[in-house]
Symmetry: C2
DNA sequence: GCGTTATTTTATCATTCGATATATTTTAGA
DNA sequence: TCTAAAATATATCGAATGATAAAATAACGC
């Protein structure tokens, strides 16, 4: 079977020429994603990653010349997994008011952070140890979402359906509420004996996020819009 | 339980017999606190810590037989630094209503997280790599504060001055809002070009936290209609 | 003073780390 | 097919890691 329909010849950086190679790369990235999330960047060793991927360690260095390169691939892959989930759902919300969009998107992010705490752990770990090439990933993958959502926050503020204040701080407050309880999972378990990833807890956190950032006016309009246009 | 990391050989790190020894230990812990926060647990090397403390590396191993022991000492020291700031201020709030207590305490925690992101980074890093003896530190240092504040949250809920819901989730939402923007400092800087630790930003975040969790009723009481009994 | 213990230094260990050199196998393209 | 390149395997490197051994120094009780 000739699977040439997918082979785009416009390869600029690194396009594996053989199918087997791509499968190997995917196995390596999948294994690295687990181990980076479990052990952090410094704690993860290329030998352990290669072992889990069932490849020789020098083969890993062949596909990803440095450990930092592998981290970038993992970060891009992890963020892309989120974006694949994020984008269609976000576009399906077209027409809704900004506050509703934000509420739905960040409630969805609560569930994503519970299922795959890797993303947030990865970013926190990168911010802590600061070693990997964080800048490129932030620019290419994170900035579009960030600016899109900050724009929605500003729109919601103009509509009077969201608290005033620096949209950046609101964005990171939303992220913090959505992800912190899961990225501190071990601490939560030790303190409460419960795994925050239980479905009821996840939904409770999503509901809490909505109540905090998008309170529903109970009796009449609590925040009447100051200017309608 | 394995809370005997120091009870087995109390003569080692418990009571240094010479003053010089205590000063050395303090220098080591101070250096380790910086490097653990900068590099994470796995990324910090005992050699580098010893170099910053200006002691020979085997001397470090003499005072803290394993790297994990050193981490525990650093974690306890870091948390104690927070508790020394927390306890007097909290006790000075006696008589206030629970919501006001919580607001003041967590606004203060915003400032603390900005000045010393080490604490939150330390806990997130410990939750990620999971290696150091997190359990003992959580039990002895974190649990008292956690249960104290959860109690205040419940009291505020009963008074109708705080959102209903799982106090644990509210606690970690407060922590997340207070600390996330600072623990993701590198990402924030890359996206916005601004350091979130700037004083105006810190105060804006503190103000945002108050608005989110303790909204002041604008006209009349907005959150009053919960039946009180 | 002396002896004992606590602390510090010097030298070094075994292991693991990320990375390289190179040989061998596999694939694509002629 | 044949061949050059791509992909994988084998063996190993130097550096850094956490940890020890043992000698040397300092402090304290007597």
């Amino acid at each position: 079977m000739s699977a040439d329909a997918s082979s785009g010849s416009t390869s600029r950086t690194r396009e594996p020429r053989q199918q087997r190679s791509r499968e190997t790369q995917e196995r390596i990235v999948a294994a690295a994603s687990c181990i980076f999330a479990e052990q952090g960047y410094r704690g993860a060793s290329t030998h352990e990653i290669a072992a889990r991927a069932e490849v020789a360690q020098p083969l890993l260095m062949y596909h990803f010349p440095t450990k930092a390169d592998l981290w970038v691939a993992v970060a891009q892959d992890t963020i892309d997994a989120f974006l694949e989930r994020f984008h269609p759902r976000f576009e399906a919300l077209e027409g809704l008011d900004p506050a509703s969009k934000l509420r739905i998107v960040f409630q969805d992010y609560v569930r994503f952070a519970a299922e795959q705490p890797e993303l947030h752990k990865l970013m926190v770990d990168a911010s802590v140890c600061g070693e990997p090439d964080l800048a490129g990933v932030v620019e290419t993958r994170l900035r579009p979402v960030f600016e899109l959502l900050c724009g929605e926050i500003e729109a919601a503020q103009k509509a009077g359906t969201m608290l005033p204040g620096d949209p950046v701080l609101l964005y990171y407050s939303l992220v913090g509420v959505a992800a912190t309880v899961f990225s501190l999972r071990r601490e939560v378990e030790l303190l409460t004996g419960r795994d925050p990833r239980e479905p009821e807890t996840v939904e409770a956190q999503a509901s809490l996020l909505a109540q905090l950032f998008f309170p529903v006016p109970r009796a009449g309009r609590q925040r009447e819009q100051k200017n309608d246009d």
